[in-house]
């Protein structure tokens, strides 16, 4: 009888802190646990007793990479509870801000976290030493996203201009003009990025994913929409608690999510693309086709191509919005509290992010619930790893550990968000 234990005790190039433990016997995996061992951040508890106007600022601090996602889901949940709706130019400005965050976050992952896996480097920094021009190009693309977030959100990290009902101050067309100029160059870089990553050598792996994403009738859903799944399911965001449940697992401080009782569904770029690719901008669709992506992507290693296509879409749509933007009459719509529960969901760069708040008549938050993308994907990432490595258990342990890390990075897990925290350790023996 042979035993094998692979420990990845310090995952690198993921957001946060976590570890992976695999135990195998006679060529079969017995245990596979993606361990998230940082303490939960208890943001939901922190929100109880605060006013209904506070969740956008408080929840933005859960993640330094995707604060806009937290702000957008929070705002929409509060507005739903209060019977308010943000439409027209104010909604367009929210979309614009969100596209900026997609550009920032996806570019960081594509250039500094994921590409080194395909080019044989331990880190983005090591890659930068040999491929200075490539990394400079990535930084220029990311900066266009930062500039957009700063122009609409007030600053490039933890935007301060967002409030329930809209914004504290609306940027003028004149202020957005230089941002648009940089976005035009960014769109070119994004197209070059798709061509670049499409040429990588991808392992021939496909998984039978059950995808979940938002779908909007008028756009490739990012800010809002109904929830749809690849097996034909569809439900309104307010029905989320009836379909998505979370459970504690012993090896992780992040909750595992189940969809209609079954674990292991996937949210994120591959899910969005596979469910909604027909709604990408024409330029992004052309880039996807030229990159060899079909209408559905089931190879997680190709997620880097999907992210690059989504960057093209974000640049393209942001430019269209700036060109068409009408200045709103007021920077925000009133959001008066009432005793009610509200649900909100949006597409964070890593996938669907759901918020629920129960507030009282005075606007005090009595309950808060946040379901981030990585906790939804955690069980599915474990399944990916199981399928990927069981036939390869004979590989040298160092090689196996490296493959596991790659498989985890395919999904760009933000463990800081999911445990409401992850650090990565690799210890193969």
């Amino acid at each position: 009888m042979t035993h094998k234990t692979v420990k990845v005790g310090g995952l690198t190039r993921v957001e946060g802190e976590g570890a992976l433990l695999v135990r195998a016997r006679d060529g079969r995996i017995q245990d596979l646990e993606l361990r998230i061992y940082e303490p939960p951040r208890f943001f939901e508890a922190l929100l109880r007793g605060r006013f209904h106007t506070e969740p956008p600022d408080i929840t933005a601090r859960i993640c330094g990479i995707c604060p806009v996602a937290y702000q957008m889901s929070a705002c929409q949940a509060i507005e739903a509870a209060c019977g308010a709706e943000v439409t027209g130019p104010l909604r367009d400005l929210r979309l614009l801000l969100y596209y900026g965050e997609w550009i920032e976050s996806h570019t960081l992952h594509v250039y500094l976290l994921h590409a080194p896996d395909f080019l044989g480097y331990d880190s983005g920094i090591a890659m930068a030493a040999d491929h200075r021009d490539l990394v400079q190009r990535g930084l220029a693309l990311k900066k266009a996203g930062n500039d957009l977030v700063a122009a609409v959100g007030g600053r490039p990290i933890h935007p301060v201009n967002v409030r329930v009902g809209g914004f504290y101050r609306v940027p003028s067309r004149r202020e957005l003009a230089p941002v648009a100029e940089r976005l035009r160059r960014a769109r070119e870089i994004a197209l070059e990025t798709v061509s670049w990553v499409a040429g990588f050598d991808f392992p021939e792996v496909e998984h039978g994913y059950r995808f979940l994403a938002l779908r909007h009738p008028g756009e490739y859903a990012i800010l809002s929409g109904a929830v749809v799944t690849s097996d034909g399911g569809s439900f309104a965001v307010r029905e989320w608690p009836e379909h998505v449940t979370e459970e504690q697992v012993p090896h992780s401080t992040a909750l595992h999510a189940r969809l209609d009782g079954s674990p292991g569904y996937l949210v994120g770029p591959m899910a969005r693309y596979s469910l909604n690719s027909a709604q990408l901008s024409p330029l992004a669709r052309e880039a996807a086709a030229a990159a060899g992506l079909g209408p559905v992507c089931r190879n997680p290693f190709r997620s880097i191509v999907v992210r690059a296509v989504e960057i093209v879409h974000a640049c393209d749509e942001a430019l269209r919005l700036i060109d068409d933007l009408a200045e709103p009459d007021t920077p925000y719509v009133p959001v008066e509290p009432r005793a009610a529960t509200g649900h909100g969901a949006s597409e964070a760069p890593r996938g669907t992010l759901y918020h629920r708040y129960r507030i009282d008549a005075g606007g005090v938050i009595r309950e808060a619930d946040i379901v981030p993308p990585t906790s939804q994907n955690q069980a599915r990432i474990e399944a990916d790893l199981r399928h990927l490595i069981e036939p390869r258990l004979d590989l040298p342990e160092e090689e196996l550990a490296a493959l596991c890390e790659r498989a985890i990075r395919n999904h760009d897990p933000c463990i800081s968000c999911s445990a409401h925290f992850l650090d990565l350790h690799v210890d193969a023996r």
């Binding site: 408080i58 330094g64 990479i65 500094l112 920094i125 930068a128």
Partner: protein, 153 residues
């Protein structure tokens, strides 16, 4: 006479995590008090943003909260980034050391990089800044205001 971007002051950290915001708070106190040529930046530690911020600068000052076991509010002034206290910059896996390595790899380090750390006491979610760290923030902001005026004269 300095031109914009010649001198950059970067506060690192995160709001809502007690003393983790010390670097951010120093930069916020300097707003409106330093010559317009001094660029003030608040950052969660994203290395790409730091490299962008200090590229072409004659002087970059980076202020971060640290946890080394020294008394709360102690101000650290290591000679270099390596070998100093544990520079973290954010709750993420990135930090100042990564930004320095990335800047070096790209040939985009400032001519002079000064790192200042403020020893924190409490990094709990939702905790307020502790009194000794508040005092250190105020004192450091006053000192930097003076020094930056001289540097940019």
């Amino acid at each position: 006479m300095s031109t914009p971007g010649d001198i950059v002051v970067i506060g690192l950290g995160g709001d809502g995590r007690g003393d983790d915001a010390a670097g951010l708070e120093v930069v916020r106190r300097l707003r409106g008090l330093v010559p317009p040529a001094v660029v003030l930046v608040e950052s969660a530690g994203d290395p790409a943003q730091l490299v962008e911020a200090w590229t072409g600068a004659r002087l970059a000052v980076v202020i971060d909260a640290v946890s080394s076991g020294a008394p709360p509010g102690a101000v650290h002034r290591p000679a270099g980034v390596e070998g100093g206290p544990s520079w973290h910059g954010s709750s993420h896996s990135f930090g100042l050391a990564d930004a320095v390595d990335l800047g070096r790899a790209l040939g985009r380090l400032p001519a002079r990089l000064v790192v200042i750390g403020i020893e924190g006491a409490d990094f709990t979610i939702g905790a307020p800044t502790t009194p000794p760290v508040l005092s250190a923030i105020d004192a450091l902001a006053r000192e930097l205001e003076q020094r930056l005026r001289q540097e940019s004269a």
